[in-house]
Symmetry: C2
Subunit: 339 residues, 2 copies
């Protein structure tokens, strides 16, 4: 590429747009579907008769673009892959839409695109169609990315936030708070003695292992924006059940706990990008926990609570001291532009 | 909604995000899939055995948000529906990702969302999953929208920019230049005696009628960014054929011609949002033109030229005076933020 920075003409649809697609996107997102260059990617469906399709979208506006444990590119692929995985869908294909600020160094864009390609490869998903827009300097902040994913849900799988039932167990795949704190400390230039890294990871492999072990899991959700507390509230509301969590069972890394205390944050509301909550029938608890702990992204999986018929729509936390308090959904904005 | 403007907390994933989804998006995008509230929309595939799936994405950053003939909302739905239609796909579902600038009046967002709902209804497509991010004031320009569409291509349809063959006819669905000029005059506060309105429209109905009449059409593409000249260059390059166009056959409205002369623009490079180019086998020319002219969005369809074996990869314009000149792809940025 002969230019070092993004120009308005890179978004004009003309020569420079074509050069950018050819030199950058196609060379990292190697897919014959993308290479075809038509207005949409087309592929033979070849679905089993009972299969369902899934569609999910997320835009990524995280600041800073690069942070310990990942960048906007890893996030853009993992976040959307995870949203597909949470409904039990095997991710097939992603689209990628870039909004670039005029003047963005092309080397930074290349670093982001390389991260996307790496995460897509880990998740086993292909980026097959895309779009690039350029806005004038000051009309966007460096780069925003939208990824949208299509996946296939196999027959017999039925995951929904509306499926939680009294008696179910609440499992968490690992320690919370890392992503949000990694962004926060990077943004504010803080230094802690314990390193804080984003947990950003594609969870479709973990979900696949869990569903193979127990296809009757009721619900999965990744506690991203709004954190674990907000995710549990969403499920309690959708299923009209109560959820009770034991504070002492929720794994919080020492570094996250220390940073949260200093910053006045509650780890239960801090975003994660590589964790999931699973609501499972009581008889499947051990089977699912075993399957989770055998996977690299579920090694520290834990039972953190249960679903009850009392206080429908409410999440109650039993504190380490034995007191009970209602855990509400996040109100206000804890950490803007976390993903 | 109790707030009049977008707050950072509307993008936090917490209470205000849920209120926005509930009060605004779900009330306009009425779909049981969206209402379910899971991380992805899931639907039974129910595809015929030979069917193919199509995926396409576009981000919309047009300025101003509202212009004669449409707004960013109509554009966001029509543009993506049209990209699906251009590969012969029947649009099924769209996703919608919003990036909002803190301080955007919610009334403006509502107007945009209402336009999206109206265009989706005209196109017969449903918006089934979405995402909202809010960035701090000055980090984006009002609102950016990404829409991504999934469609189904029926057996026997094979449209691609790589399918043009020597001897094929080049058809255009109607007059060019309206969208680009409508944006330009609105942005610059210009007044012309002849009104300029965007041609923004969903073309899937027109495409459907054309493919019913002639399933063997080789290629369709909508001449958006970069205009007719750039689109023809893309096809010539993908198919490695020459394309020859007669200037006198290309319909240009009087208002567009006058405004272009004044502004020093070439209508062949100005963006359209409701037009298509079709490359058809010579024996199908009349059948396809008839089908186009019977549809409201193809009434002024015209034969504008043909495909040849000489000068592969090149587009040549025969001017009204009988001279020939090479029509290159757009270089540079004619009108930034046109869509």
């Amino acid at each position: 590429m002969i230019h070092s920075h993004v120009l308005l003409a890179h978004g004009s649809g003309g020569r420079l747009t074509h050069d950018l697609i050819h030199d950058l996107f196609r060379s990292y997102f190697c897919s014959p579907l993308l290479a075809k260059g038509d207005d949409a990617a087309v592929w033979p469906a070849n679905l089993p008769p009972e299969a369902r399709l899934a569609l999910t979208t997320d835009s990524y506006v995280v600041q800073p673009l690069f942070f310990p444990g990942g960048d906007i590119g890893t996030l853009a692929v993992c976040g959307t892959v995870n949203d597909l995985a949470m409904v039990g869908a095997r991710p097939l294909y992603l689209s990628a839409g870039f909004i670039l600020e005029e003047g963005l160094p092309l080397a930074q864009l290349e670093r982001v695109v390389a991260s996307m390609a790496r995460s897509a490869s880990e998740a086993g998903v292909h980026i097959v169609t895309g779009d690039t827009k350029v806005v004038d300097r000051g009309s966007a902040d460096q780069v925003f990315i939208n990824t949208t994913g299509v996946g296939v849900v196999s027959a017999g799988i039925d995951l929904s936030g509306a499926n939680a039932m009294a008696g179910d167990r609440v499992l968490l795949s690992g320690p919370i708070g890392q992503h949000g704190l990694a962004i926060m400390t990077q943004r504010e230039g803080l230094q802690f003695s314990l390193p804080l890294e984003s947990d950003c990871a594609p969870l479709n492999g973990l979900v696949d292992a869990m569903l193979k072990a127990a296809p009757t899991i009721h619900c999965m959700r990744d506690p991203t924006r709004g954190g674990l507390a907000t995710t549990l509230n969403e499920i309690a509301a959708q299923s009209q059940v109560g959820i009770e969590i034991e504070e002492s069972r929720v794994p919080v890394p020492e570094g996250v706990r220390a940073a949260c205390e200093l910053l006045g944050l509650d780890p239960l509301y801090v975003a994660n990008e590589g964790k999931l909550v699973a609501i499972v029938p009581p008889e499947m608890e051990d089977t699912v926990l075993d399957a989770m702990r055998r996977h690299r992204y579920g090694r520290e999986a834990a039972l953190i609570g249960g679903v009850c018929a009392t206080h429908p729509g409410r999440v109650v936390l039993q504190t380490s001291l034995g007191a009970h308090r209602v855990l509400d959904m996040l109100s206000g904005a804890q950490l803007p532009r976390i993903c």
